[in-house]
Structures are given as C-alpha cells and as structure tokens.
Symmetry: C2
Subunit: 218 residues, 2 copies
DNA sequence: CGGCGATCAGACAGACCTGTCTGTTCCCAA
DNA sequence: TTGGGAACAGACAGGTCTGTCTGATCGCCG
C-alpha cells in the first residue's frame, strides 16, 4: 500500500517539464530566463497537469532548478503562486484562443463558429488538461473565494469577446448568445476532460449551430 | 502562515455532517446504521463538498464516529473508499435526477425539457457542489483511469436515459440529441459550480430549446 | 456464563507538506 | 580588486497524511 504511493511519486518525478539549460522562447538564445519565470512556467504545467494539491513545492523547485528562498522571496506562499499561475494561464489561454478564432475566419458570425475548431486545436495540442479554473475550483470546492473570483474574471473576458462578435454579427441579444456559447464551451471542455473523446467536439458544434440558428432573426 | 492552515482546519472541523445518535432514514428509528454505512455517508458528503485530497481519513472517521480499523477492514484503502463513494453517489444522483425528470412531465419531449428544472432543484437543494465525477477527475488530472472509467459509466447511464426519451419523442438521431443535451447539462453544472449564479439555468434552457428546435423534423 | 467477533480508541511508523533559516557561491558593478 | 546582492543547496521545524498495530470494550449467541 505504501509502496503504491511510492511508485506514484517516482513516476511523477520521472517526467521533467523543463529540459536543462533551456532558454527563453521569446528572447535571444543567450538570454537565461530568471528563476521566478522558470518557477511560473513549471508550476503552471504541473498545477494544470497533476492538480494543485497533488503538486508539491519541492517538485516545482526541482523541475525549475530553483531554490526555496527564491520562491518565497518572490511569491510569498504557495497560495499566492497559485493565484499568479492562474492569472497568467488565463491571460495566455485567452490570447491563444482569441487568436485562433480570429485566424480561422473574418466575418463575425463565422468567427463565432470558429470557437469549436479553436478548442479542437487546443485539445490536439497535447497540453489539454481541461479548464484550469474549473479544475482549481473543483479542487478547493466551496472554499477559496479568491479562486472563484479569478475564474469569474476569466469568464467575463471571454464573454466580452464573444459578445462583441455577436454584436458585430448583428445578432439580437448578443450578451445572451455569448453566454449560450460559453456554456457550450464549458460543457465541451468538461466532457473532453472526462472522456478524452474528440467526438465531443462534433456534438458541441451541433449545439453551436442550433444556438446560432435560433438566434438569427427570421 | 501556519496559523492560517490551522484556522482552516478548525473551521472545517466545526462543521459536523452527521448529528450524534442519528439513525437510518429508511429503517425504523431503533435501527442503528452500521459503521461502514456511516463512513460512506460522511465520506460522500465531505469528498463532494471539500474535495477528495482535502478530506483526510481522520476527519471522516471523527464525523462518522467510527474507527480506523473498521474503515480499513471494510474498504482496504482510501482509494477504494473513493471508488465506492463515487459509485454510490452516481447511482443515487441518477435516481433522484431521473425521478425529478419523470415527475415533472409525462410526454417524452416535455420530459427532455424537464432536465433543466431537475438541475435547478438539485442546485436549490443546498447540497450542490458540482458533478462529483468531474470534480474527482479534475483533482486527479491525467492519472487515475479508474475514476475516469467510473465517470464514463455514469455518463453512459445518463445517455441511455436521455436517448430513450429522445427515441420515444420520435426525434431523429436520438443518440445524438442525448449527447447534445448531456453536453448542455455538463456546461450548466460546471458554470453553476464556478459562478453560483442560477441565471446560468436560463441560458441552459435556451440552449436546450435550440437543440430541440433544431432536432425536430421540419 | 463464557467466548467470540465486531468495533473502538489511540499510539505509532514512515512519508510528505509548507515555510524558515543558515551558510555558500557567483556575477557584476564600482 | 572588492563589495554586495541574487540565487543556490539543504537542514530543520511543525504539521498532516495514509496505513498498521495493540489492547480494551461491548453485544450477542451458544
């Protein structure tokens, strides 16, 4: 029994996140990323992949090749690190998602339909672990209002984006349509995480088409 | 910092699940429920409410007024207890959900629409912590295929129920309609858990209406 | 009455967790 | 060349976790 938990631990440790000596992807190759950036990158990957409770500080530091003093001097606590990771993950996720939607089509209505291919691209990208905010709230259940606030803000940003598209597409009640599409996205993401079956995306696309068909005047 | 976790702990402990001396709800008042049943009841409430990782064995045993030997003699490990809790939670949830759907209407198509009021009743019941399966998978992320298998079985049962209704309603492609409705349910439950805003249900109802409108021939 | 099985109460082991603290190294700028 | 700050390595404290084990208690059945 205790051997089981030991095995699980060693399995997790035999799965590095950052190759040693890696450099910034956005800067020149000679620029070494500062330790706090490495911590954020590794923590983000591990929190999303393995869960927050299941990821210990020591594991993050080992993978990031950083020391405890650096982490606590820069972030103060694991909880604060979680908040910062979620904030960054949300911003980056939205950047990628909005870019994928915009790149897929030009007309507002076509862009709304691009929501499903954008999720498909995310799923196919190999780093799909479900919605980080839903996962975080699920782990902390009723408590942690700070996490719920971050999740709510994430949703607000997405709703604004979808609402603008719906309004530009001259749909009546664009805010409502945005909420309907976001709900479809949440359902697709949850179902994808549980089942791992990409067929979910075809179902979600059917729902999206039904929403848009019902929304269009006439 | 450590005082914070201490406070959190005492808060959690000052929240009993089973009143002392409680008896079975289904049997006569003189019948005392066996310890393993009390453990299952308490574990189910705490796992769903606070999360699996956040709920320790000691907390379950204290609230259930049971001893460790009983738990390990009956269940073998915490992981096995989690599986049994999820199995029972899923069966009971489906019983209540299906009953609410059936009680709300008689005609198959009307019963499909009752899916939203049934979720609303669950939400208003005061013991809504989101879908236990989604939460469990979110907590264990990629690992634990056993939990994903339980979640998949849960979904299969719901799909069968919805599919039968869709078929009885003479909808074309009843299996697809069932998946569309289940996806809408998952989205509503996830959004409800994160936001706690019952207005989500009105959006979900709109989506359901759009799905049924698109599915009906003509 | 006597024994037995179920249960309880709690100590204990071993591991992991977060967070603090002490030294040391190393680079860069004055 | 030298001083200072950033980062490193790792010990340490105090606590929690799961799971094992010992001994006491209680009720029931023969």
């Amino acid at each position: 029994m205790s051997k089981q938990s030991l095995k699980k631990r060693s399995d997790a440790e035999a799965d590095p996140v950052i190759p040693p000596g890696s450099t910034s992807e956005t800067g020149p190759a000679s620029e070494i990323r500062p330790p706090s950036e490495r911590i954020l990158t590794v923590a983000r990957e591990l929190f999303c992949r393995d869960g927050i409770h299941a990821t210990g500080i020591d594991r993050i530091l080992a993978d990031a090749h950083a020391s405890k003093m650096t982490l606590y001097a820069r972030f103060g606590s694991k909880e604060a690190l979680v908040r910062e990771v979620l904030t960054r993950e949300g911003a980056d996720w939205r950047d990628a998602f909005f870019a994928a939607v915009r790149a897929g089509a030009h007309a507002p209505l076509d862009r709304l339909r691009q929501v499903i291919p954008a999720i498909a691209a995310w799923f196919d990208g190999g780093r799909f672990y479900g919605c980080a905010f839903i996962n975080a709230v699920a782990e902390h259940a009723k408590g942690e209002p700070a996490l719920r606030a971050l999740a709510a803000e994430h949703h607000r940003h997405i709703l604004a984006f979808l609402g603008d598209l719906a309004e530009a597409a001259d749909l009546p009640e664009p805010a409502l349509v945005a909420r309907q599409i976001l709900l479809t996205m949440d359902g697709a993401i949850a179902a994808l995480m549980v089942s791992g079956d990409p067929a979910v995306l075809a179902v979600a696309r059917k729902n999206l088409d039904a929403i848009l068909a019902a929304a269009e005047p006439g």
